[in-house]
Amino acid sequence: MKRDIWEEKIKTCKERDFKFTTVSGLPVKALYTPDDLKDFDYDRDLGYPGEFPFVRGVYTNMYRGRLWTMRQFSGFGTPRDTNKRYKYLLKHGQTGLSVAFDFPTLYGRDSDDPFSRGEVGKCGVAIDTLRDMEILFDGIPLEQISTSMTINPPAAMLLAMYLVVGEKQGVPKKVLTGTIQNDMLKEYQAQKTWIYPPEPSMRIITDIMAYCAEKVPKWNTISISGYHIREAGSTALQELAFTLKNGFTYVEYGIRAGLSVDKFAPRLSFFFNSHLDFFEEIAKYRAARRIWARLMQDKYNAQNPRSYLMRFHTQTAGCTLTAQQPENNIMRTAFQALAAVLGGTQSLHTNSMDETYALPTEKAVKIALRTQQLIAYETGVPNTIDPLGGSYYVEKLTNELEKGAYEYFEKIDKLGGVVKAIEKGFFQKEISRSAYEYQKKLERKEKYHVGVNIFEEDEKPDIEILKIPKEVERAQIKAVKKVRRERNNRKVKEALKDLRKAAASGENLMPRILECVRVYATLGEMCNTLKEEFGEYHEPIIF
């Protein structure tokens, strides 16, 4: 047997002084062989693209039919500034929009709220009222573009604004395509933007699912996001396990709210990170598809095959970018983007090299977009489906990640489910432990980061940085005050009163929110109205 000979030989080979593990710490063997896949059954465990259990991709011909949607997450300054950037990106071949909101908007606060000081237009675009949304999409035909909005606690309000902008452009709701992130569970676990406690947040989400299933059928109502869990420091396995478990929790809440699973599940989509470990990332996406398909069928009794499809957007890992030698970030992003494509993503956002300093400049964001275009048009990678399928290593890793995810599911179930586990700080503790361990690995040089702990240079980087001028805040405060002055305040008061009543009675909130938006109620007014009914969330402090 040749294997014996090889095994004897490799024992005598000198190895580099390095711990061979994935970024997440899973051990990596020198070689993978058919022995690693002894019980592997092609039809059961892999199947064909577009066929159960969808490991090889959710669509029959994948990128040979249509490339992934190229999005760059963008937003800064006033709606007018961002509108200009969108037109720039669309001109350079971007195929979908992805709106980044500033912190006050993410928290449902107006630009003139005292807590918004210093934050307006900084990390994204400021949206206070429908007027801002009209400017944001001015001259952008909503029937031709799919828009993803990274918004969570006030997702219902921003979606309502988008729908009304569509109305004003003459685009019916049933034609609009896009996504709201609307994933509150991961907010409590990782990204930490919240307004209300978990239970009312879940109610708002099921209201959105119910409303969209009827009125906005092509809208993705939740983008279940592992991205932020990973950025907060989790391992790939934790990202996979927590994200999928969150996904199933939305399914359970939907069913409990009386919705038919096949009516809302096809509109749930996912959002993953693409980190540094090439093969581990690819295996993560493949495992996620198999877990979702199997449990949706076996546990949640979905009948519609579309309910089994785990479609996902990917963003390259912002947390892996370095302030040192920032140009290297272009290469990091390219490898991560390639992993996402090999993993079968439906949509991709590549980070810009300057993001460890500020929001990207036009030049940096164009390089990031070109990175995707190079993969799509020059590498040949999208020409065959799941080219790593059958790789002993990738299949083994896929199996290991799947197994690890099921172990986490059990642990979370024992804690009483996701919401209970959040209240107990389970996810928060797991994630910050992993973040700290990763940092220690870097400092012990068990993991390398070029420019940070190996091949360091003293030179200060010299790259252009985007600056958000102070005038943005002043202009935005002026704009929201002007809207308050010019609108019909009696109508606003009535609409807010109706919203509060709906919150108390359990009636679906979406139609009431739409009413508020139409009469130019501000985001802060709507969110505060619900706060009176639902209360506010306070996090247990854990580090």
């Binding site: 912190f103 606060r109 996090e539």
Partner: protein, 161 residues
Amino acid sequence: MGRKIRVLVGKPGLDGHDRGAKVVAAALRDAGMEVIYTGLHQTCESIVEAAIQEDVDIIGLSILSGAHMTLFPRVLELLKKKRATDIIVIGGGIIPADDMKRLEKKGVKKLFGPGTPTAEIVAWIKENAAARAKKESRRKVSKRTKKKTSKKSKKKSGKRK
């Protein structure tokens, strides 16, 4: 100095990215310091209040949202108002080099960029907090002598006079 170095790690503003703050907090604790972590979404007022109440040597602020040019100076201003400028303010986060220079001019003692090893932060704090501790012992002496004479004014201006 006889007691542990006390550090308050604070997250002012609306920014929810607390990975860096928590990693640093854990590293400082492992290095034998007493660490108070404020949790998210704190106002500058509440951070300064807590720092004074806990009698910390250092306030470490972490800001990623871009609001650093508003929030850092605000903390410094409040410390001045409360006559607690002996508390050293340091920080980290996503802060462009130009802004770092300007903030250091305004009185932020040290800013650590992304990728800084935690050991470097620990070493800096040990060195600089020691200098403060010496000053503090002088301050404490004067505090003790004042205590007898002016209880009223002490009440008025808070714990740290």
